[in-house]
Symmetry: C2
Subunit: 362 residues, 2 copies
Amino acid sequence: MSRCLISKLEVQSFIERCMTAVGTQPHHARSLAEVLVEGDHRGHYSHGLNRMDMYVKDIQTGICAKDGEPVVEKESAATALVDGKNLLGPVVGNFCMNLAMKKAKEVGIGWVVAHGSNHYGIAGYYAMQALKEGMIGMAFTNTSPLVVPTRGKECTLGTNPISVAAPASDGDSFVLDMATSAVALGKVELYERRGDSIPEGWGCDTEGKLTADPKKVLNGGGLLPIGGSEATGGYKGYGLGMMVEVFCGILAGAQYSKNIRTWKVTDRVANLGQCFVAVNPENFAPGFNDRMSDLLSIHRGLDPADPDTPVLTAGDPERTNIKACEEMGGIPYHINVVNYMNECAKKIGVSQLLPCDKFVSN
Amino acid sequence: MSRCLISKLEVQSFIERCMTAVGTQPHHARSLAEVLVEGDHRGHYSHGLNRMDMYVKDIQTGICAKDGEPVVEKESAATALVDGKNLLGPVVGNFCMNLAMKKAKEVGIGWVVAHGSNHYGIAGYYAMQALKEGMIGMAFTNTSPLVVPTRGKECTLGTNPISVAAPASDGDSFVLDMATSAVALGKVELYERRGDSIPEGWGCDTEGKLTADPKKVLNGGGLLPIGGSEATGGYKGYGLGMMVEVFCGILAGAQYSKNIRTWKVTDRVANLGQCFVAVNPENFAPGFNDRMSDLLSIHRGLDPADPDTPVLTAGDPERTNIKACEEMGGIPYHINVVNYMNECAKKIGVSQLLPCDKFVSN
């Protein structure tokens, strides 16, 4: 397939242009653009440029605040409760993660939760901020209900991601960034568009029965938690999804569970709950980075079951994607995405993504 | 099946009798007995009385220390690094969890890791200590390699459990206590003894290929991470297992990954790494317990897919088991377990479990 190559800088600038055109504060627009570009750069296109129109709309309709800053409501040496003031998710996320790291530098750990937040892109972006300071970072968020709990038939939990990043030597790292659902909704949508059936264990129908028909999952059914059905351990994924909800909506006093607004329906403010943690290895046993490197090496060096698919560690597929982007000199987008984004830009009087005539096969 | 009913107090006393008979300090024996009894009471027989002989042997052979106390090596207002001094796991676990809760009372969170520890029974026991103080508790431990990472064929990770307990109103709670493997090893052993095949996604053979033959899993193969194969999301369980290793062996400077001694082979000290966390909801939004109760109610009140299997929340199956034990007035054990334990007791000159003639059908 042929894709349109656009430089990282231009994508960054384009998102900033669009967001500021509808009234977003420039430094807020920059924060959002950075997270979305990072999503695409890592190969998670479902959390990048192609979601920009959602954020533009949130600012245009006023359902998300375009001005102001998050506020610390309660604080200790190691913890904080933050009011995100309904600002863009990345504005709240950066504020909280920076605060968590500051605390971790002083007392070894910072645990910060926010209410009044919005979608913040990939959770891994925030966890990875801690790597720059040689710390372990974690990020969690609740999201709109899309997951059906084990034995149920109604969506009561979001895809509630868990992200944990830990530094190793020489800039290497472990970066776990995973939804607590068996798969992402976007993956089911992709199968549906192709007319393919989905593997057992991804989703269920309106009656809570496992189904291979993506249409049934998308129309009144829902995603299953990691582990799939009860027999294959889906109750563990359900438990993890609820753990994320405890750290986010419950601890922060934000919306939670099925009270969170429906996915893509912006009839009221999101009031998402989010949790950000930084842990400083210097407060524990010396030599953390070396042991991390050894742990990664042990796994990467394993004899694979299939010689064509080497054993990886969390973050390796994204590292490969970033390297490919750097070699090409940009991020390859499907031309439909570029055209759609340029139409959006036109409507708000913003100059288009350039150039649009550099294609790569990918 | 008929089972032998023994009072909780007698099981507690029996384990204390056996452990002190081989030279364990009485208060250490008490700590171990409490965790094992709690395991059985909650229905997790694989982590209760039937493992007592392993702990007796550990003390008898001197591979585990029978005297001394854990030592804090490094400390901040919110963190601590503890040397478990090769003491029994529950001695280290209680010491660390108490320290984490003390810190959480002062600064909202305590994050304590230990090296030099041993098997500590159910992780949930430690997480649940925090409930008594109205806090969220967490416990993690690394364990002997039994899990094969996605795409590999060698065991490099233990069943590395995650436990998170959170208080709700009126003594109710959420208690997640789960291995990061698809199933416990004991479950595969059970199928093997019965001559049954296991469901796809539980384990693999020596070549890393999924297998339905429990013998292959037990003889050179291994357990799969939660999620099963790569196609069904097993890489998420693999990532979570490694996250636990980061919090435990790597952060604590203990043994880690495939360097940990083989399961049931006690040729050298275990030097396990463990992590204990307490988070004080009072440092965050008011009304935590009420929101937790609402979250639990939302799920327990869901219309189930099958009317015969109601939707549960983490900790509910154990609650049912505890209630059944209380109604019977004791814990029902398989007679073989009782006989085996009494043989062990005889060898070390300890009086037997009493009475052994009270049977219940269960």
